[in-house]
């Protein structure tokens, strides 16, 4: 089943798209249980190497798949994702199923409710196969910051899968599930998608409900799919997207109708290549990554798009603003893990000491580092210089990108400056943070962005190209992504 058997240091296998699987299950040509069993076998065979999952829900999943088959047999339509196995990043709440954020502080915690995206997946007939590993509380770009150990890149087990949705990206790349959900605060879907050679979407902020996504940085977090194809990404986006009254920041509209626009082509579309994110001045960028991005731009031009280079000067300043705003919000969001109500508790002689002991033992180094950074950024006397200034940069960026989108339908850049790097290679936090430079702008602006696999780079590892769209610009973004996918094939 896996290439591991061939002595190669990789775990991958050929797969059908979710769109095709659902179609076959809905028309009865294959059963949901058969499909699921193949995926569960793949997990059994390969996950001891990859370690994509914190929890595999084989029994629950088989029961659910049986119900899907019964519905099909009874002539009912279980929905657009009928019988499609889906892996969930372990920061998405699942009723009565452990949801850990890969943190000791939440180990064994079982939420009493499902996240809205989980409810919607189930209503569409999807089968939840398990919960995937992540950097603790989604803080990281390699999935090495998990309290339960790192996930490995299925294309090279000595390499990281990216992060923080590294478990989800690896699960799709390894063929453990055709679809996974991740969350993207500064690139946590797109960067691991690029490093694992899969498609990763961060929708417009407010396009997908955050209810039940355990918050890292509330103004930046979005849930999105990791898939093998752009078509699968579009389908899952339409299933999970749209207004949710439980999320006040949810846009009161249905999702953008991307599926029916996918094949409209790119003739005449205006594509801007962001100079600051696509040139050799970008810190730590690999020439192969720049080459693939240039080839993608050229190919789009050849396919009929108008492609130009465009300067967005504030785009590189995004990284500094992001590393003020995200930790600031995190310092507040993570305050509740105090040992009083749920999760781990360490004893202490009084309440304050108990809270301190719980947090000291419960959080890993990176989480502590960001809580301290964020607390500092919000402190009296520093607020204006750090948090306040970062908000100004954010506003400036939004304005600059909005202006650029007056002239362009979508923008192009690499998804990550580099391909998958060896475990332990980026032990210095700053080196790791720089990885997010291409992805954070879309989180700060709230705009949609998608990473599409486009060839390979150093050591034959996958490269991802990022297509960014304006607010609610999912349709032009998906059209270009679909074109790139076709070109890359």
């Amino acid at each position: 089943m896996s290439d591991k058997a061939n002595g190669e240091n990789r775990v991958t296998r050929p797969q059908s798209s979710a769109v095709d699987l659902a179609a076959s299950i809905r028309n009865g040509s294959v059963s949901a249980v058969e499909v699921l069993s193949q995926y569960l076998d793949a997990i059994d065979a390969g996950d001891s190497e990859v370690r994509a999952f914190n929890t595999v829900l084989a029994e629950n999943a088989l029961q659910d798949a049986t119900k899907i088959d019964e519905q099909v047999a009874a002539g009912n339509d279980p929905g657009p994702l009928a019988g499609v196995p889906v892996a969930l990043k372990d920061n998405l709440c699942t009723n009565a199923i452990p949801t850990t954020c890969s943190s000791r502080v939440l180990e064994r915690w079982k939420p009493p409710y499902d996240a809205t995206v989980v409810t919607r997946l189930k209503q569409a007939g999807a089968i939840i196969v398990g919960k995937t590993n992540l950097d603790e509380f989604a803080m990281g770009s390699s999935t090495e910051n998990s309290a339960f150990g790192p996930t490995r890149n299925p294309h090279n087990l000595e390499r990281v899968p990216g992060g923080s949705s590294g478990g989800s990206a690896a699960a799709v790349a390894a063929g453990f599930a055709p679809v996974a959900l991740g969350s993207d605060t500064g690139g946590s879907i797109r960067q691991p998608a690029a490093l694992c050679g899969v498609v990763g979407l961060k929708p417009t902020y407010g396009g997908v409900s955050r209810y039940g996504l355990i918050a890292f940085a509330s103004s930046l977090d979005q849930v999105g799919p990791l898939t093998n194809t752009v078509g699968d990404s579009a389908l899952v986006y339409e299933v999970i997207g749209g207004h949710d009254r439980r999320d006040s920041t949810s846009i009161p509209e249905p999702p953008q109708p991307v599926v029916r626009c996918l094949e409209q082509g790119i003739e005449g579309m205006k594509v801007g290549v962001v100079a600051e994110l696509s040139g050799s001045s970008l810190e730590g960028v690999e020439p192969e990554v720049l080459a693939r991005t240039r080839e993608a731009a050229d190919a789009l031009a050849a396919a009929g798009a108008k492609v130009e280079t465009v300067s967005v000067p504030s785009s590189v300043a995004g990284l500094s603003a992001y590393y003020m705003i995200a930790p600031a919000e995190a310092s507040s969001n993570l305050a509740r893990y105090d040992g009083v109500r749920y999760g781990q508790r360490q004893p202490g002689p009084n309440t304050a000491a108990m809270m301190a002991a719980t947090r000291t033992a419960g959080f890993g180094d990176e989480v502590k580092r960001r809580i301290m950074l964020g607390t500092y950024a919000l402190s009296a006397g520093y607020w204006d210089a750090f948090y306040g200034q970062a908000q100004k940069v954010r506003t400036l960026m939004i304005n600059q990108f909005d202006e650029v989108y007056q002239d362009f339908d979508v923008l192009l850049s690499p998804s990550s400056p580099c391909v998958a790097f060896p475990l332990g290679a980026k032990a210095d936090p700053m080196t790791m943070y720089i990885n997010d430079v291409c992805t954070v702008p879309s989180n700060l602006t709230g705009h949609p962005a998608i990473s599409v696999p486009f060839g390979t780079g150093r050591d034959g590892l996958p490269v991802g190209v990022q297509v960014m769209g304006p607010l609610l610009g999912e349709i032009p973004m998906f059209r270009v992504a679909r074109a790139l996918e076709e070109i890359a094939r």
């Binding site: 920061n91 998405l92 709440c93 949801t99 954020c101 939440l106 915690w109 939420p111 009493p112 409710y113 996240a115 955050r210 209810y211 039940g212 996504l213 355990i214 918050a215 940085a217 509330s218 103004s219 009254r245 439980r246 999320d247 006040s248 920041t249 600031a328 919000e329 310092s331 507040s332 305050a335 509740r336 105090d338 009083v340 109500r341 749920y342 009084n350 309440t351 304050a352 809270m355 607390t375 919000l378 402190s379 009296a380 607020w383 948090y387």
Partner: protein, 483 residues
């Protein structure tokens, strides 16, 4: 805002000093559900039953604003003559076990209401700085040595109150004495009740008062170091705590020292304030706009609709009673008890306003009084004035009316109440005089003071003999006529 000063209350401080008071009142809003979730907002109930994942702040949950809380906040703003504006919710970050998220959602830089004022019945005007929305915390019970968190053996937390909507109404430092502070709290309370925003139950903690107190030399306009007194949870303790604290400040100044800015707690039993945490070491709350919520920007149209639906406020209702002939003091009490509609109803039936207000002031501080039928009250007053009932009988009949809702005529008949005629009364009086010759001769020779006392003796004897059915007024007249 210029503060109209009225006849000032007697100073509580040594000559040359005056007290400066600002109040922060937290009032729970009378909504069905909590501020940001659909968990019920109700007092009492077994611990941790009025909760849901959102009000417990469970990971992944998000707040969704209760529109009714906004409407009530706007009502309050309008009643306090505030500017109602676009507002933003902020997070106030600090660790406390009874706060599920370890931050409180509040309003900081942009409150929903700002810059209002409230005119008190005495005529004083108190400036309102802001009236903003926030969520309440849960309640901790510390089980152990002293009942305080620091040395508790263990603590129990009840989150039923967590997330209940609160309005915090902050005055300017315009209040000039403890009596005025009480008057402000009373007036605010009756307004909140009148507009349906709060149940006014201070004893259940649904209205809580913090007082900022400082002193200064009379006539000065400086604002000296203030202390914030917490836990002032009854009208009586509002006055006592302010008086205690102001005197403490004066004593310090007169001893050549000065108070330090701090939060102090009112100890009702000991009758004193005690230092809490010092403000210099105050926590840094690291406020920032809550990214889970969007700004609240009520449309002018909505505000106008709310304004149009506002009930009449206590001040206007007092004016109505005074215009109808009532005294200002009686009008204030009648409105304070919510009995002004009853009074006006009885007047419409032709009742005498003085008699009606006398009953409202003296005999109707009871539950259910607002359920009385205005026409029954009018009949009662008529029976009393016509002599069909004595005032003592009327009082008894009134009590039964509140309990049973029966008409006064029926109650009087059931009880066999009929006014005694004068000759019968005079005969009884004569017999009391005959049985008490010493007292009578003292009475005849006495000065007014002693005579007043003995008059009570003779009236009392007759009352006793008639089991209270005698008309006291008539009896007094008869007694005087015998001199």
């Amino acid at each position: 805002m210029s503060t109209k000063t009225t006849a000032s209350e007697p100073s509580i401080l040594p000559d040359g000093w005056e007290v400066v008071i600002g109040l922060e009142v937290h009032a729970e809003l009378s909504t069905q559900t909590k501020m940001f979730s659909s968990a019920p907002n109700s007092f009492g109930g077994a611990p941790n039953t009025n909760v849901d994942p959102v009000s417990l702040g469970l990971p992944g949950t998000l707040p969704v604003l209760n529109a009714k809380a906004i409407e009530l906040a706007i009502r309050i703003g309008l009643a306090l003559n505030c500017t109602v504006q676009r507002s933003v919710f902020a997070r106030k970050n600090y660790f406390y076990p009874d706060m599920p998220k370890d931050y409180q959602i509040s309003q900081y830089e942009e409150p929903i209401n700002r810059d209002g004022h409230l005119e008190l019945p005495s005529g004083a005007v108190v400036g309102i700085e802001r009236a903003h929305l926030e969520e309440d915390t849960g309640k901790s019970t510390h089980v152990g040595v002293s009942g305080r968190i620091h040395d508790a053996g263990y603590s129990l937390v009840d989150y039923n109150r967590a997330g209940v909507p609160l309005i915090e109404i902050v005055t300017r430092p315009d209040i000039t004495g403890p009596e005025q502070a009480k008057e402000y709290v009373e007036e605010l309370r009756s307004i909140l009740i009148a507009i349906g925003a709060n149940d006014g139950k201070m004893e259940e903690g649904s209205m809580r008062v913090d007082a900022n107190v400082s002193v200064r030399p009379c006539g000065s306009d400086e604002l000296r170091t203030r202390c914030e007194i917490k836990n002032v949870n009854s009208l009586r303790s509002v006055g006592r705590a302010i008086t205690y604290e102001a005197r403490r400040h004066v004593e310090l100044y007169e001893a050549g020292e000065s108070p330090s800015q701090q939060t102090r707690h009112w100890d009702e039993e000991a009758g004193r304030t005690r230092a809490g945490r010092s403000k210099e070491q105050a926590e840094d709350y690291r406020y920032f706009a809550d990214p889970d919520l969007v700004a609240v920007d009520p449309s002018p149209q909505w505000i106008a609709e709310i304004k149009a639906s506002m009930p009449r406020l206590p001040s206007a209702r007092r004016v109505t009673l005074v215009d109808a002939g009532g005294s200002a003091a009686a009008a204030a009490i009648a409105v304070g008890r919510g009995l002004d509609d009853l009074v006006m109803g009885a007047l419409a039936e032709g009742a005498d306003i003085d008699r009606v207000l006398t009953h409202v002031v003296n005999n109707l501080a009871v539950d259910g009084a607002d359920q009385l039928s205005p026409s029954h009250l009018a009949s009662l007053v008529d029976m009393e004035l016509s002599g069909a009932l004595t005032s003592t009988q009327a009082k008894q009949v009134l009590a039964t009316m509140v309990q049973t809702g029966q008409a006064p005529g029926d109650i009087a008949a059931d009880r066999g109440f009929e006014a005694m005629d004068s000759s019968e009364l005079e005969a009884m009086l004569d017999s009391v005089i005959a049985n008490n010759p010493d007292e009578w001769s003292t009475f005849v020779d006495a000065d007014d003071k002693v005579r007043g006392r003995l008059q009570g003796f003779f009236v009392g004897q007759v009352m006793k003999a008639t089991k209270g059915q005698a008309d006291g007024k008539e009896l007094n007249r008869l007694l005087r006529s015998k001199l």
